[in-house]
């Protein structure tokens, strides 16, 4: 090894460090960073300023600015391994979608340190473990926790056991002949499959397992794992009836709800976050592949929003973003998901909505946003939005193409003069 100065050695160490290191001021202006940090930051920054941490991440983690601003203590760890979901779609099937973990520490009033690392593989592994876990839980737990039923192909209950009564509150002897769907009250807003949809898959694949909220006879909700297995009398014959196994999975609801909110919601607006949006999108794509259920996407970008922040400051801009999320969420159908995808960009995912329904909803959202008014010291502030919508049928089931198509139409709406919805090739005001 050649003689090396201490500084050179230190530089070499930092150039080779496989974790991104960044030092910036309170506004995100970067003073020092190593190459690994730039490796991730520059592609995310796009046309924005890669020399500012918050600007560079504005599209993928707009919440960071607020998380830092809301952190009270003068020094200390602001967030630890905060996950930034880079890919919404699945660009290449063989590659895990990219996820970055960001840790932020405040060292002084105007000094932040950040680390960035790629945890895509880790996240993919967690997903696999979770799936396996669900399976093992179903297989290994005490048999007494199960309600076991037999139902016919049209969903009518043929047999039920006493555990069904304990779990659901319906007397098992009285439910024979009734339709199981009518008793379960599956929570539709979660986007779970209905029982009849599970039967279609079970008839084809042999079985189907899902988890979700269900209702007992007294109206209480409980988290239920529902396994449907096809039974056939002859060897090749189509399934004549099905076994259904219901398992009550106790959850500490409040804690679970907190965690759910933390993991799925945008810090500022309370809308869903990119991560959750991406997950729902993939789940719905699977439903599309299995059952050809329609799925539509609206993407929405506020017009000239940068000017709002420049003129009125971020706090007013933030209020506006919250109000937009509020009015749009209120317009959603039961299964819809409204998410903040970037700085002033939102998306609405609409399971079982076709093109026409999505278009109508997009127009309602446009009108609701245009009607918003936020009071400011300079007088009332209004805003408009441009929207694009597309359906999964149009892109032959490709999520990436769906996002691209909706984006393309969003830009067409911008070019056509903003404050409008663009859908197919035509743009309507």
């Amino acid at each position: 090894m050649t003689d090396m100065s201490g500084e050179e050695q230190l530089l070499e160490f930092l150039y080779a460090c496989p974790v991104g290191l960044i030092e910036c001021d309170a506004m995100g202006e970067i003073a020092l960073m190593n190459p690994h940090a730039m490796q991730h930051l520059l592609p995310l920054a796009g046309a924005r300023n890669a020399g500012n941490l918050f600007d560079a991440l504005e599209r993928h983690a707009p919440e960071l600015r607020g998380i830092v601003a809301d952190f009270g203590p003068a020094t200390g760890r602001i967030c630890d391994g905060h996950r930034i979901f880079v890919d919404l779609g699945t660009r290449r099937r063989t590659v895990a979608p990219k996820v970055l973990a960001c840790t932020l520490v405040r060292l002084g009033p105007d000094r932040l340190m950040a680390t960035l690392s790629d945890i895509s593989q880790q996240v993919a592994q967690e997903d696999r473990l979770r799936q396996a876990d669900t399976w093992f839980a179903t297989l290994l737990d005490g048999v007494s926790d199960y309600a076991a039923l037999t139902i016919t192909a049209d969903g009518r209950i043929a047999t039920a056991d006493p555990c069904f009564t304990r779990q659901t509150g319906h007397a098992f002897a009285d439910v024979i002949g009734r339709n199981l769907t009518d008793l379960l009250h599956t929570d539709a807003s979660g986007g779970d499959l209905r029982l009849d949809e599970q039967l279609v898959i079970a008839a084809r694949d042999g079985w189907h397992l899902q988890e979700g909220w269900q209702q007992r006879a007294n109206g209480d909700r409980y988290w239920c794992q529902r396994l449907v297995v096809a039974r056939s009398s002859g060897e090749q014959a189509p399934a004549s009836d099905y076994s259904v196994v219901l398992r009550d999975v106790p959850r500490r609801e409040e804690a679970a709800e907190d965690v759910r909110r933390l993991l799925t919601c945008d810090h500022l607006t309370g809308a869903a976050n990119r991560r959750h949006f991406g997950q729902v999108m993939q789940r719905e794509q699977a439903h599309w592949q299995e059952l050809r259920q329609s799925l539509s996407l609206i993407v929405l970008d506020l017009d000239h929003f940068k000017a709002v922040n420049d003129r009125h400051g971020h706090p007013v801009g933030d209020v506006l973003l919250r109000r937009v999320a509020e009015v749009c969420t209120a317009l959603l159908p039961p299964r819809g998901v409204f998410a903040r995808l970037g700085g002033e960009e939102f998306g609405a995912l609409l399971p079982r909505y076709d093109n026409g329904q999505a278009m109508t909803l997009a127009e309602e959202m446009r009108a609701a946003i245009a009607a918003l008014q936020v009071e400011t010291p300079h007088g009332p502030l209004t805003v408009t939005a441009s929207l694009g919508c597309a359906a999964l049928d149009e892109t032959d089931g490709s999520i990436d193409a769906l996002i691209a198509l909706a984006d393309e139409r969003l830009y067409a709406a911008k070019h056509a003069g903003r404050n409008r919805v663009c859908h197919h090739k035509a743009c309507a005001a």
Partner: protein
């Protein structure tokens, strides 16, 4: 000065490849040369001065893993994997001596030349 600029934008890959180490060291812009395995074979004095690294320690290491992780993405490293012929200038931000620094990169690769080059102009 304008001559130097023209050199960065116009010098052909073949000329660069035939230069002696001293000639490459004399160029006013950074030059890094490596083959398909990304192991650094050439690291000129200008680049060493900008990065603060001794060429002796850089030569022989995998470029995109040990020195230039900031280029280890689809914008630079991936292109050398995907495109046999490149002659392209792109604006970029490097972290020379750990400071974000706007530069222009010229990426050079040719199917008939084993060594590829990245030119760096501050």
């Amino acid at each position: 000065m304008s001559l130097n600029k023209a050199g960065f934008e116009t010098i052909p890959l073949s000329d660069l490849d035939m230069m002696s180490v001293a000639e490459r060291d004399a160029l006013p812009f950074g030059v890094v040369g490596f083959e398909a395995d990304t192991i650094v074979q050439s690291y000129n004095a200008t680049e060493a001065q900008m990065s603060g690294l001794d060429p002796a320690t850089v030569i022989g290491v995998p470029f995109f893993d040990a020195v230039a992780q900031c280029m280890n993405n689809f914008m630079v490293a991936q292109r050398f994997e995907d495109e046999p012929e490149i002659d392209d200038i792109i604006p970029y931000v490097l972290t020379l001596r750990m400071r974000p620094t706007k530069v222009r990169l010229r990426l050079l690769a040719a199917a008939d030349t084993p060594r590829r080059y990245i030119l760096i102009q501050r």
